[in-house]
């Protein structure tokens, strides 16, 4: 899950990183109140799950209460790349001498953690990596050996950062690593990490992605679930515990297993159509899951045909069939279903569905045949 900047800063702050004082506001009076408490000047920053806030006018400096009100009023409700701004971070404005970049992530192919540090912060790091790769100092950390003070010191030197700030930078990098590991983050990124004219180090922006699989160690992460960017369809599927991603087409897709679901979306495209969604009911889906999946797809007004593509492994054919039959009894279908069923107990499943076959429920003999049929139906409605 991706954190908003203010959540990322709270996360960093818990791990000891130097974050400027600030609080989040959802309305103009609240923004003024917070700014009055912090003292001027402050920065008013849009909280959205997308980059490019500055260019879109989502970050403004305010020298007094009037300016805070004007800025908050302009930014709240603003659309930035399709994301509506619901809250703003009001933060003490830091004096900036230089801007650095620091991050830790997982290098999947090296099976180690990758740290990146650069004197060229404040700009898009992908662009820096493309135009001036030598300005990024990379280190690979062995997860068992860990990251020690000596490693951090060598790293700061390699990145050619201001030597007078080395001690404080080393401390910040050690804290950043701790946040990454102890916090079970997939990514921790500070861009920019700034030096003030007095030589103090400050975290000016925070990009944090947490590992969904680590919630059992961090039950408090459940609170972040509410601010994940999801459209209405994704939110209702998520509430039912389904792995769902909304897409733009007209063929609703239900499959078991992430790979098969992805492949089904692709095969629908190859048949000349477009899927309305990715939906994986999982390896061990039961009757309820299948019925819930059908309800979610059926509620999507864009869906003109439904393609259910099941290859039974753990999921057995008769369970899939029962789920569909249950859903047919409970839900009024707005779009016809094309069902492809193979694998464990597929014959039993097909036999159960056979008496109910109609123009609203059809069987397909293969994955590509089913996709073609669903695309044809969607095109004709």
């Amino acid at each position: 899950m991706d954190l908003l900047e203010y959540q990322g800063k709270q996360f960093f702050s818990r791990h000891g990183l130097p974050v400027s004082p600030g609080l989040v506001a959802r309305g103009v009076p609240e923004a003024r109140e917070i700014a009055d408490r912090i003292g001027y000047p402050v920065v008013v920053k849009a909280q959205v799950h997308i980059g490019g806030r500055g260019k879109a006018g989502g970050i403004r400096l305010a020298g007094d209460a009037e300016e805070v009100a004007t800025a908050a009023d302009a930014i709240l409700g603003m659309d930035i790349g399709g994301h509506t701004v619901g809250c703003v971070l009001i933060e003490e404005a830091a004096q900036i001498a230089v801007e650095y970049y620091a991050s830790f992530t997982l290098d999947r192919s090296a099976r180690r953690y990758l740290g990146m540090l650069s004197a060229r912060g404040g700009v898009d790091i992908e662009a820096v990596a493309a135009s001036d790769p030598s300005s990024i100092a990379k280190i690979w950390v062995d997860p068992v050996e860990g990251f020690e003070e000596a490693d951090a010191r060598t790293w700061v030197l390699a990145a050619r950062l201001d030597e007078t700030a080395t001690d404080e930078l080393v401390e910040v990098l050690l804290e950043l690593y701790e946040a990454f590991v102890e916090g079970d983050a997939d990514l921790v990124e500070i861009n920019p990490l700034v030096l003030t004219p007095e030589g103090r180090v400050r975290v000016l922006d925070a990009k944090v992605t947490l590992d969904d699989n680590s919630v059992f160690r961090h039950p408090e992460y459940r609170a972040y679930d509410a601010t994940q960017p999801r459209d209405e369809r994704e939110a209702s599927a998520h509430a039912l515990g389904l792995q769902y991603v909304g897409l733009d087409g007209t063929v609703g897709v239900i499959a078991n297993g992430a790979g098969l679901a992805m492949s089904t979306v692709d095969v629908v495209a190859q048949a000349g159509g477009a899927a309305a969604n990715f939906l994986d009911i999982g390896g061990g889906a039961d009757v309820e899951t299948m019925a819930a999946a059908l309800r979610v797809i059926n509620n999507d007004p864009a869906v003109k045909a439904i393609f259910i593509n099941i290859f039974g492994g753990i999921v057995q054919g008769e369970v899939v069939a029962q789920g569909i039959l249950d859903a047919l009894d409970r839900v009024e279908l707005r779009a016809p279903i094309v069902l492809r069923l193979d694998g464990t107990n597929a014959d039993q499943g097909r036999a159960m569905v056979a008496p109910r076959l109609s123009e609203m429920l059809m069987m397909a003999g293969s994955m590509s045949g089913g996709a073609a049929r669903a695309v044809a139906i969607a095109g004709s409605r």
């Binding site: 192919s109 068992v144 699989n213 992430a258 492949s263 692709d266 990715f278 492994g313």
Partner: protein, 294 residues
């Protein structure tokens, strides 16, 4: 021959007394796998349908000569279960459990690299591996795979593995070993590890790879094919139409920062001489042609 698993493999199930562990251990035994033991720290001395339960993998290895472990314990306990298996003396650990944190996977890789380099981990979040006609360890339905080779199969996805086995079986093509490496960001065994083993295996004459978006494992496999493989390879990559920035079910299946796209993987594999099918069926048809030409 087959890779890593055959009729002599003796398998211990960590989590045998749980619902999933019991169901699949018995299914694997019915397939012909030599299921010799289970573990549960608080149920030593018990038995599950005649399978003896030990407190630890070490005790199971000592008593039964187990050399493979299959892990069904819940995600929070996978890290310690794999260490226990490695210290207990097995050389292959197959982790079926899903939902394991990436930090635990990365730590396990590093731990085994340093302290137990002889131990191979497959998974987590994988269907396991099957050497058809010899042994099946994990959750693959054994009857969808035809035995006898000549194809070695490796896949990041569970159900797509079944789909691929099914396509091959319908075409009358057998499999030496099918390895599901799992869809997580840090799998214990990579495509490249499997390709290297298949290249060495005298009975495997061709290789089929099922990949998906995210990471660069397919690109690394392509480089390996180009430099080291003499056997023909066919591939299928899922997620051509996946939108960037969205996790497509698997924790590892995400296109981020323009990297890990299906298009890039397909291009790299094709350039390395791998025949890439646009759908699982087309990949199956490619393999029919490859096998006919062997």
């Amino acid at each position: 021959m087959s890779i890593w698993l055959d009729e002599h493999s003796r398998v211990v199930y960590q989590g045998l007394t749980g619902r999933a562990g019991r169901f699949h251990a018995l299914r694997n035994r019915a397939y012909g796998t030599r299921v010799v033991a289970g573990t549960n720290p608080s149920k030593a001395g018990a038995s599950v349908e005649g399978i003896p339960v030990f407190a630890t993998v070490g005790a199971a290895v000592e008593a039964t000569g187990a050399d493979v472990s299959c892990v069904f314990v819940p995600a929070p306990y996978v890290r310690s279960a794999v260490v226990e298996a490695a210290e207990g003396g097995v050389t292959l650990v197959v982790v079926i459990t899903e939902g394991v944190p990436a930090k635990d996977e990365a730590w396990l890789c590093a731990k085994l690299r340093r302290d137990h380099p002889e131990v191979r981990v497959i998974g987590p979040n994988c269907p396991g591996l099957i050497s058809p006609g010899k042994a099946n360890v994990g959750i693959t339905a054994g009857d969808i795979a035809l035995s006898g080779g000549p194809v070695g199969l490796v896949s990041r996805s569970g159900t797509l593995t079944y789909q691929a086995l099914y396509e091959l079986k319908q075409a009358g093509i057998g499999v030496t070993t099918c390895v599901g490496i799992g869809g997580d960001p840090v799998p214990g065994t990579s495509f490249t590890d499997c390709l290297a083993a298949f290249e060495e295996d005298p009975e495997t004459a061709a290789v089929m790879m099922i990949g998906e978006i995210g990471g660069s494992a397919e690109e690394e496999a392509a480089a390996f094919v180009a430099e080291h493989m003499t056997k023909p390879a066919v591939a299928y990559i899922a997620g051509i139409t996946a939108p960037p920035g969205k996790k497509m079910g698997h924790a590892g299946a995400i296109v981020s920062g323009g990297k890990g796209t299906a298009a890039a993987k397909i291009e790299t594999l094709s350039a390395a001489g791998v025949r890439v099918g646009e759908s699982p069926s087309e990949a199956g048809r490619h393999m029919v042609e490859v096998v006919a030409g062997l």
